[in-house]
């Protein structure tokens, strides 16, 4: 710009160069355009800028292809295609990762939240189970969180009505806390209640010995129960016949456990996704 007078410099500094750039790009209309045209007509620097910007845009548009990709082959091999053709949850990992910088912190937060929630929730339940009073006919605390509860009803002479209800006890899948609470309940009964805590924790059948091969009922389904060994376990009364009745599945894992477990899983998936993250898809 050798022909630009210096005396204009101070006034040009106050001019809106973006307006001139927009005019050069043809993006202005109406009063903005009129103002920009007036500016370029009254200021030689603005006029020179306008001309230069147009020249630069024209030169940029004629830039040659920079470097040919000769020798580069981006075709996918069958192995790559197979790897990219994920199934199941793996398909969602890349989309979960996205381009967000929040993926990793979010994953960590979710996993931590879920873990803490699970720990606090289960410790709370365990504490309740351990501290709650037990009784032979009562439900053990925490039973609501068990996968299922089973009523053991034992028939026999020792029963006042022929059906001594033990109350719900833990299924073989019961937690140790529930088993611990069921144990004392059985031991406080004087032989009428045939269930003992080992049955809950070890999965052995709670039996009324002496009725070898006698069918038992599980809910409405009767099934054979193996004969109890002679002189069975402590607390078992020979000659008694018991019935095993499923009183209902009380709902499986609690909602809070599901939520916290889900948070852990989602958090881990996000963490994995953030580690796998490459350039994101469009």
């Amino acid at each position: 710009m050798p022909d630009v007078p210096d005396v204009r410099a101070t006034s040009h500094d106050r001019h809106d160069t973006m307006l001139v750039a927009a005019l050069a790009a043809g993006d202005l209309a109406g009063t903005d355009r009129d103002q920009a045209i007036a500016q370029t007509q009254s200021c030689s620097d603005c006029a020179a800028l306008h001309a230069d910007l147009i020249a630069i845009a024209r030169a940029t548009a004629t830039l040659p292809p920079p470097i040919a990709a000769s020798g580069l082959d981006f075709r996918l091999s069958p192995q790559q295609a197979e790897r990219l053709r994920r199934t199941g949850w793996r398909r969602f990992v890349p989309s979960l990762s996205g381009r967000s910088a929040l993926t990793r912190p979010l994953g960590i937060s979710l996993a931590t939240f879920g873990l803490i929630g699970l720990v606090i929730g289960n410790l709370g339940l365990g504490g309740m189970a351990a501290s709650a009073p037990t009784s032979g006919a009562g439900s053990p605390p925490g039973a609501a969180s068990l996968p299922s509860t089973v009523d053991i009803q034992a028939g026999g002479e020792s029963s006042s009505d022929g059906r001594n209800a033990l109350g719900p006890i833990a299924s073989p899948a019961a937690s140790a806390a529930a088993a611990a609470s069921a144990g004392p309940a059985a031991s406080t009964n004087d032989g009428q209640f045939l269930h003992a805590s080992p049955a809950a924790s070890s999965g052995t059948t709670t039996t009324a010995a002496g009725a070898s091969g006698a069918p038992r009922s599980l809910g409405t389904t009767e099934y054979p129960v193996p004969a109890a060994p002679s002189g069975g376990q402590t607390g078992q009364a020979e000659g008694q016949v018991g019935t095993l009745t499923v009183t209902g599945n009380t709902g499986g894992p609690s909602l809070s456990n599901v939520v916290f477990g889900g948070a852990i899983v989602l958090g881990l998936v996000l963490l994995v996704a953030s580690r796998r993250r490459g350039p994101a898809p469009g």
Binding site: I56, T60, I67, G278, G282
Partner: protein, 219 residues
């Protein structure tokens, strides 16, 4: 020949037609029709069809991306990742131009590379110009004109390498590749006003960097 960047530059400007792949509309453009057929076969699990698309567009994508990232290796990685991503997301194609779809994926890959580069700075941009390239012979093929053209391109490439990533991407997509504002906004995920602003500011920045050499561009 139909894939020639110069031809594309000449015929493109203005919004590209958008066709729904699932519609029964007949696509007039033979290139577009070929792309849609290949894409449909690729969606059906035909890897060869997808690789045909790769062959059709790998040079063009590489030429686009190599202007946006510092070196050929990163450009190569971007393009490869773009094709991986395209293959993973074949079912995500919603019709329209396959080329625009691939470009959008590649530009996003390049943007990601740029962001990663900011976190881990690497070597500055190398010379982008291809010394083997020569302007097409014609009535302007005199040695002085050729030398001026080469020098102008060299200066412009050097200046382009020094402006911000966003401005460079916008200018390359608009001026070099010939996309319109809306297409660039869609590709880069910013507003139309932001695209305009980046282009305007980018040109102003180029002019500032080329101030000493503007005589190459005048006349």
């Amino acid at each position: 020949m139909l894939d020639s960047p110069r031809l594309e530059l000449a015929v493109r400007r203005g919004p590209l037609p958008v066709e729904d792949l699932r519609s029964t509309t007949v696509v007039d453009d033979p290139v577009q029709r070929r792309d849609l057929i290949l894409l449909e076969r690729a969606r059906g699990g035909d890897l060869d069809a997808f690789n045909d698309l790769v062959v059709c567009y790998q040079d063009q994508l590489f030429a686009l991306i190599v202007r946006m990232v510092p070196d050929r290796d990163q450009a190569s990685d971007c393009v490869q990742e773009a094709f991986f991503s395209a293959y993973r997301n074949l079912k995500g194609f919603r019709g329209g131009s396959v080329k625009s779809w691939l470009n959008r994926i590649a530009v996003n890959a390049a943007m990601d590379i740029q962001r990663a580069r900011k976190r881990r700075p690497s070597q500055p941009y190398p010379e982008l110009e291809d010394e083997s390239w020569q302007p097409p012979a014609g009535e302007e093929a005199d040695p002085v004109h050729t030398a001026l053209t080469i020098e102008r391109h060299r200066a412009l490439n050097a200046a382009l390498a020094t402006i911000t990533d966003d401005q460079r991407a916008a200018i390359v997509l608009f001026d070099v590749e010939g996309y319109d504002y809306q297409e660039i906004a869609d590709m880069t995920g910013v507003s139309l006003g932001t695209v305009k602003s980046r282009i305007h500011r980018g040109r102003l920045a180029l002019r500032e960097r080329l101030a000493e050499r503007m005589e190459l561009f005048r006349g």
